[in-house]
């Protein structure tokens, strides 16, 4: 799916250097998270103050395992995109900006991987 106007492509990719890809990705990930609102609220409220047996039973269901992996992937992607904009807007030392952007990307990727491993471990009862 390409939602970019052909004229925009001819004129180049704008001040960001990457066109509207970042902007659109932020909106699409926001939409997915918006659709998951009811689930995350239900999960949060039902697990508030829960003991170990109840929490691990809840988090090991097939549905919740899948939702956790999807949610973590979308959340950490959305967080990376958002933190990137904040860093680009407020950090004006080029080296520091580059380092922070790299750290944020790496941290978000690692956070997603750890989430997925933990979710699968709970599901498989290992």
């Amino acid at each position: 799916m390409n939602m970019q106007n052909p004229l925009a492509r001819v004129r180049g990719t704008g001040s960001s250097g990457e066109g509207s890809h970042h902007w659109r990705s932020q909106r699409y990930s926001a939409l997915i998270l918006l659709l998951m609102t009811a689930w995350i609220l239900w999960l949060g409220v039902s697990l508030a103050g829960a003991d170990y047996a109840f929490a691990s039973a809840t988090m090991s269901s097939f549905f919740n395992t899948g939702m956790v992996i999807l949610f973590a992937g979308t959340v950490f992607y959305h967080a990376q995109l958002g933190l990137q904009v904040v860093i680009e807007d407020y950090v004006h030392i080029a080296t520091l900006e580059f380092a922070l952007l790299l750290i944020v990307r790496f941290a978000c990727l690692v956070a997603f991987l750890i989430s997925a491993i933990a979710a699968l471990k709970l599901a498989l009862g290992a």
Partner: protein
């Protein structure tokens, strides 16, 4: 031509722009997003890892979450979630090209504030 490097988008803070509901909600949306990225999401990740690690790690985290500091972090996280959710809905409506008149932006701003406070109270109340 002036040789000064001008900002590419209007900078809403400082003496250049009157502080008002639009700029307040704009910076709040960023602050709540950053707070959730730096505090809430890592805490949720830690919770999941503790649960996967076993009963002992989970009990230790549960004890911390039950403390005053833990409950403050939870309350701030729930508010950040609620506010960022309302602010996000507002942005998606704008992106669709709707409600862009000044009076609509102001009223949707107040709706977002009220909605965020109500959702925070409902979630915290339901979770108690």
């Amino acid at each position: 031509m002036s040789t000064t490097k001008r900002p590419m988008s209007p900078y809403m803070l400082g003496p250049y722009y009157k502080f008002q509901i639009t700029s307040l909600l704009s910076i709040l949306n960023r602050l709540t997003g950053v707070f959730m990225s730096v505090v809430t999401a890592p805490l949720l990740l830690y919770w999941l890892v503790a649960l996967a690690s076993g009963e002992e790690a989970f009990a230790a985290l549960s004890a911390f979450l039950g403390s005053v500091l833990g409950m403050l972090i939870i309350a701030a996280s729930v508010f950040s979630f609620s506010f960022h959710l309302m602010g996000g809905i507002r942005h998606l409506i704008w992106d669709a090209g709707w409600m862009l008149e000044n009076h609509q932006v102001r009223s949707s701003g107040w709706a977002a504030i009220i909605g965020a406070i109500l959702l925070t109270l409902v979630v915290l109340g339901a979770g108690l």
